[in-house]
């Protein structure tokens, strides 16, 4: 199979002053990006001043993987339902975390969702620390609420629509089931409309 080849270099053009300036500008531009990246990896997020100018999040790579502290807990979303007849269901897990399999080495479609829960939970906990913010009107709260609502409606597709549900966000130590979970945030009662 013929390998793709680079075209032959243009030797004469390289010596023109305009070309040298362009080459130098490229080096300075790329070098500046490297320096900016290095300056944005401090263990304290307080020094992420340059990152504010990269709202998309791809301009300045974040190399702080599992650093300074790695994730050592799982987040769980649980909910309970108030049925149409007034009875209450026990707390159940809204979503499950996939059991580790060999196939995950090649293909793991649920990886994004599990990581997504970490992202949403992290945002919610940060917002929770500010008492001026009304949590139930924030983006991460609404995303979780809708996720629970989807599950509740799916579970009760064949029967009367429940009056509503409540959900909570918990953090637990994964395979080490000995410690008690940390119950982080409990939602107020969410009423369900009969429109579906």
């Amino acid at each position: 199979m013929p390998r793709p080849r680079l075209s032959r270099p243009d030797a004469a053009a390289r010596l023109r002053p305009a070309d040298r300036v362009a080459t130098a500008a490229l080096a300075v531009g790329l070098g500046s990006w490297l320096v900016a990246t290095a300056a944005s990896q401090h263990p304290h997020r307080a020094f992420d001043g340059l990152r504010r100018r990269d709202p998309i999040g791809l301009g300045l790579p974040n190399w702080r993987f599992f650093a300074p502290e790695p994730a050592q807990h799982d987040y769980h979303v649980l909910h309970r339902v108030l049925h149409a007849d007034g009875t209450q269901s026990p707390w159940v897990e809204t979503t499950t975390i996939a059991t580790r399999r060999w196939s995950h080495v090649f293909f793991f479609a649920d990886r994004r969702r599990e990581k997504g829960l970490f992202d949403v939970a992290g945002e919610l906990l940060t917002l929770m620390a500010d008492p001026r913010i009304e949590l139930t009107r924030t983006v991460p709260y609404e995303l979780l609420r809708n996720a629970v609502e989807l599950r509740v409606r799916a579970d009760h597709r064949d029967g009367p629509v429940p009056r509503g549900f409540q959900f909570l966000l918990a953090r637990h130590t994964g395979h080490d089931e000995a410690p008690e979970p940390d119950y982080l945030i409990a939602s107020p009662f969410v009423a369900l409309e009969d429109d579906q």
Binding site: P2, R3, R5, L6, S7, P9, D10, T23, L26, L30, S32, W33, L34, V35, T37, A39, Q41, H42, P43, H44, D48, G49, P55, I56, G57, L58, P61, W63, F65, F66, A67, P68, P70, A71, Q72, A98, H104, V105, F106, F107, A109, D110, R111, R112, R113, E114, K115, G116, F118, D119, V120, P131, E142, L143, N146, A147, R151, T173, H175, D176
Partner: protein, 637 residues
């Protein structure tokens, strides 16, 4: 048998000492591995459309609000990309492009394909915001690198600049990740790997059991990971001979993570960044090797080193200017030396004289005298006020006491109390003093009032600390270790000139322009954080040792002010504030509603409310008109 062994030996030899890789091969390998990762990523997205519909964590109808608030024009573009058909079409286009790149097509098609995939990252990254991970960044860099390198292919020195850039990003990716891990106590103690293995999301039950039963194995593995990352730059040493072995080790690390942590995409993503490292570390490529490729141009790392030195130099230069300004202090500041040898910078306002009480403000830990601006200015319309910076803060110097040449003893709250008592006697000139303390300043003020009861005739506590708060409030106790970890790195980071990277705190805008400059100078100067760490350590250990019942009694009136949100977030705090007020038989407790611990000073209305309460206390303590007509008895100290 012998043939198999020979073949195996040759494979190993090829892996550890490969033939020098050329530009072309480096770009193509990077491009293909990156494309493969794009392919897998897009198929994973395509089989999970529910994640993007209502109920999914990337439901754009909800998630878009964040981007619309920050960048409305970009958000409108992403709104189009986020439409179901458009997202699906983009992922399908990605898959098709990736498959083309896997094949033999050459030249311009590859460059166009690379650019398309890189652009798709930019387009889709925000749309898929929740759930993005390191691979998205890595493949964006390797694919952009490939696109740029192919566009510049007629200029080998420019291609080399691009390949060096990707290689140096890779070096930072491993290296800095390792060094930042060293700042985490879990990594240093060896608890990190078992901790991660324990999670269901990123762990594996058998690995967790193994690491928990064999803690020494866990520690050794943890240190091995740290070494492999922190020392990555070693690939450039020794003419690059160690690079192939080191890169294979990291690939093995990624393969293990793929199985144990479910991070399959990381294998191909990071492998895509390896070929530029192989190319740039190989000393053989510095010369022409007779394969038609011109020698490698190593200008880019030199330019980068120069720019880095320039940035560090600029940071250090800015830091020295900042330090000079902080030590020079503000206009009209006086200096006063305490018995301990600390020189305190103080500002007087009012200058009425007479026999009205003087209010002296005591700031909190990691705070500045300027934090009292609104309260002091409001109060200065009615009486004389003094604000000052504790030893080590702002222009005030900290002279650790040496007794007969022996090394300094550790600072304790006693030193702050002693300095305050000295200051009070200096500024009072026989007049009664009212102390107003915020946070730890409140506790210092109470102790000073206990030391000098004749001079200090009233204490106002603004969201004050209570010595039992660590023991009685679990919320306070949990925050302790984190605070120490955070503080330890601040001073050295700022000394190294990283100040400009420190974003201004969000409350800065609440203070007038005249205060913002000096405050930012102090905030970005290491002195504030060094003083804060010194005080924090002393306060932590004293509060941990505090026994209930050790609260002294005071004769002078105490006003305790609680910030509404402090009480809301931790009701025990309000209880503690009442207890502090109850140290005196003349006590009062008020709550300033809907305000937090910091804004109670920074928000002008809240600070003026506080000033109003302090003023009431001062009026209470001021001599009445009949007493003023008579000759006042001198107040003994």
């Amino acid at each position: 048998m012998g043939g198999l062994r020979r073949r195996a030996a040759r494979l190993v030899a090829d892996a550890l000492t490969p033939a020098p890789i050329g530009r072309d091969a480096a770009i193509t390998r990077m491009e293909r591995l990156s494309a493969l990762t794009y392919l897998v990523a897009s198929v994973e997205y395509l089989v999970r459309p529910g994640d993007r519909r209502r109920g999914g964590l990337n439901d754009w109808d909800i998630a878009k609000r964040t981007l619309h608030a920050r960048m409305p024009r970009t958000a409108r573009v992403v709104d189009v990309i986020a439409r179901r058909e458009v997202t699906t079409a983009m992922h399908l286009a990605r898959c098709a492009t990736a498959l083309v790149l896997a094949g033999p097509r050459g030249g311009r098609t590859r460059g166009a394909g690379d650019a398309l995939l890189a652009a798709s990252s930019l387009a889709l990254h925000t749309r898929h915001h929740n759930g993005t991970d390191g691979t998205d960044q890595v493949i964006f860099i390797s694919m952009s690198g490939a696109a740029l390198a192919r566009a510049l292919q007629r200029r080998p020195e420019r291609v080399d600049a691009v390949l060096w850039t990707v290689a140096l990003q890779t070096t930072m990716s491993y290296g800095l990740s390792g060094w930042v891990k060293l700042a985490g106590p879990s990594w240093r103690s060896g608890a990190a790997l078992p901790g991660v293995a324990r999670t269901r999301t990123y762990g594996d039950p058998r690995m967790w059991q193994l690491l928990t039963r064999q803690p020494r194995v866990a520690r050794v593995l943890g240190y091995a990971v740290l070494a492999m990352e922190c020392l990555f730059a070693v690939v450039y040493a020794g003419k690059g001979r160690i690079a192939p072995a080191w890169l294979h080790s990291t690939t093995l690390f990624h393969l293990i993570n793929a199985r144990v942590m479910g991070l399959g995409r990381f294998v191909t993503a990071f492998a895509s960044m390896h070929s530029p490292v192989l190319y740039t570390s190989d000393a053989r490529r510095r010369r022409a090797l007779g394969d038609g490729e011109p020698p490698r141009d190593d200008t880019l790392p030199r330019v980068t080193a120069g720019l880095m030195a320039g940035a560090v130099g600029a940071g250090l230069f800015a830091q020295s200017g900042r330090r000079r300004r902080v030590l020079a202090g503000r206009d009209g500041q006086e200096r006063f030396e305490t018995r301990a040898g600390n020189v305190l910078a103080l500002t007087r306002r009012g200058e009425r004289g007479g026999d009205m009480p003087v209010v002296v403000f005591e700031h909190g830990l990691l705070c500045c005298a300027e934090f009292w601006h609104w309260s002091a200015t409001a109060l200065a319309e009615h009486c004389d006020v003094v604000t000052y910076a504790r030893a080590g803060y702002g222009p005030s110097t900290y002279a650790p006491r040496r007794v007969n040449g022996s090394p300094r003893r550790t600072w304790s709250l006693d030193d702050a109390v002693a300095d305050l008592v000295d200051l009070v006697r200096h500024v009072g000139s026989g007049r009664p003093i009212v102390l107003a303390g915020h946070s730890i300043g409140g506790w210092i003020a109470l102790r000073a009032a206990h030391e000098a009861p004749a001079a200090i005739q009233g204490v106002a506590l603004v969201d004050s600390s209570h010595p039992a708060e660590i023991q009685r409030s679990s919320r306070q106790a949990k925050g302790q270790e984190a605070i120490t970890q955070n503080l330890v790195l601040m001073g050295p980071s700022l000394t190294l000139g990283l100040g400009p990277l420190l974003e201004p705190p969000e409350w800065l805008g609440l203070l007038p322009k005249s205060e913002r400059g000096p405050l930012m100078d102090q905030y970005r100067d290491a002195r504030l954080w060094q003083a804060g760490l010194r005080e924090w350590r002393a306060v932590s250990s004293e509060f941990e040792a505090f026994t209930d019942g050790d609260l002294p009694r005071l004769a002078c009136p105490i006003l305790a002010v609680t910030a509404g949100y402090t009480a809301l977030l931790d009701p025990i705090q309000e209880e503690l504030h009442r207890e502090l007020a109850a140290m005196s038989p003349h006590s009062e407790h008020v709550v300033v509603p809907r305000i937090d611990h910091e804004r109670i000073l920074f928000s002008q209305p809240a600070a003026e409310t506080v000033a109003g309460h302090i003023r009431d206390l001062v009026v209470q303590l001021s001599p009445g008109p009949e007493e003023r007509r008579a000759a006042p008895a001198p107040v003994t100290t």
